[in-house]
């Protein structure tokens, strides 16, 4: 024979246990919801609210602003690469218009590129001499002008061109005022 009082007590205990379990599950669900709300992907959360689909590739920030010092450093390297040393006799003399004279053009060893030198009369802008490419560490001591000049003194400009050794392209230039003398 079963005891009705004992049965009622057991039923009460089961109901209590189920209630506790449900309460625990509710607490866990609330905790999970709160955790997701605080640390979850906001963009994902916003999607259903606003209807905007945010690009997952978007990152925080604006236009890139490079370090000014680094920019200047890079530019300074370009200046260094382009420096040219020009060296020559600034008063070459020739016995006559067709004889060789002491131009003494030196492409100093400190240079990076072969040089081409072009001499132009300042009064007429005529080119009276143009060298071929002079290798670094080499010189042209004595040579003829490409124009038969009359006896006299001529103010000229000697332009020194840096030349790309692979392509022959002129990379930059600088010049010097010189005086060419033809004696007779």
């Amino acid at each position: 024979m079963s005891n009705p009082a004992k049965h009622t007590q057991t039923k009460k205990n089961n109901t209590k246990t189920i209630g506790i379990v449900i309460l625990i599950l509710l607490v866990i669900a609330a905790a999970v919801f709160l955790f997701k709300s605080c640390s979850g992907d906001e963009q994902t959360d916003k999607m259903p609210n606003t209807g905007i689909v945010y690009d997952t590739g978007a990152v925080e920030g604006g236009w890139d602003e490079a370090d000014l010092d680094k920019i200047v450093e890079g530019l300074n390297e370009k200046v260094e690469e382009g420096m040219i040393n020009i060296s020559m006799n600034t008063s070459p003399s020739f016995e006559n218009g067709t004889s060789a004279g002491s131009l003494m053009i030196v492409n100093e060893g400190v240079n990076r590129y072969p040089q081409v030198v072009e001499i132009t009369r300042n009064d007429t802008n005529e080119v009276i001499y143009k060298s071929g490419a002079i290798p670094v560490g080499s010189k042209i001591e004595s040579t003829k002008l490409s124009m038969d000049l009359d006896a006299g003194t001529y103010e000229c400009t000697a332009m020194f061109y840096n030349v790309n050794p692979d392509t022959g392209e002129y990379l930059g230039c600088a010049g010097a005022i010189i005086t060419v003398t033809v004696l007779g």
Partner: protein
């Protein structure tokens, strides 16, 4: 013994003749003579070498790079110098800027002066100063080539290499550039040419 005496006489005669050859003949009390001091400048420094003037040797920049940011700010290098390695003093005779690849010169100023320019109008305003001297700038006079320095001005003078404090001058430059619709990389927009000369007394 006779040989030694003969040698002594011979030496005496040589010395006596040599003196008469180089010295002025002064035969009065208080008289004077002149001795020429001759100079020959030659390529190898010898008295018999080929006549030659002092060699010029100067290091100059051939590249003045610029970098433009997306907001139009232009940055330039800050290590640009001209160094005189010659024994003699030199000066900058001229500086010329010439545009390249379809670019045009315009007046230099604040970049806001280009606010009304069309994008890709390819205009460049350029400013340069040498040796902390006067800044020279491009204007609207010629779109293709302009003389920034046409004769030596303050800041253009360099001593000989013997004075390491004044044988070099700094070159400072800046620019404004019209906006670009497409990026460019190391595009040559202009060339600046420095020409030097002896800093003569005349």
């Amino acid at each position: 013994m006779k040989k030694i005496i003969s040698l002594c006489f011979a030496l005496c005669m040589i010395c006596a003749l040599s003196v008469s050859a180089f010295a002025a003949d002064i035969d009065t009390n208080g008289g004077s003579g002149s001795t020429p001091v001759n100079l020959s400048s030659t390529d190898d420094g010898t008295i018999g070498g080929d006549p030659s003037a002092t060699a010029m040797s100067v290091t100059l920049p051939t590249a003045l790079p610029m970098a433009m940011a997306q907001n139009g700010d232009v940055t330039t290098a800050d290590n640009c110098q001209i160094v005189n390695n010659s024994y003699g003093a030199v000066r900058i005779a001229s500086v010329t800027i010439t545009t390249a690849n379809g670019w045009k010169l315009t007046a230099f100023g604040d970049k806001t002066t280009l606010a009304n320019e069309k994008v890709d109008s390819n205009k460049l305003g350029f400013a340069l100063s040498v040796g902390n001297g006067t800044q020279t700038v491009t204007d609207n006079s010629d779109a293709s080539s302009q003389r920034l320095i046409s004769a030596p001005i303050s800041g253009c003078y360099m001593s000989g290499v013997g004075n390491s404090a004044s044988n070099k001058v700094d070159v400072e430059y800046s620019a404004i550039v019209t906006p670009l619709s497409s990026p460019v990389t190391e595009a040559t927009v202009a060339t600046v040419i420095f020409v030097v000369e002896w800093d003569t007394a005349a």
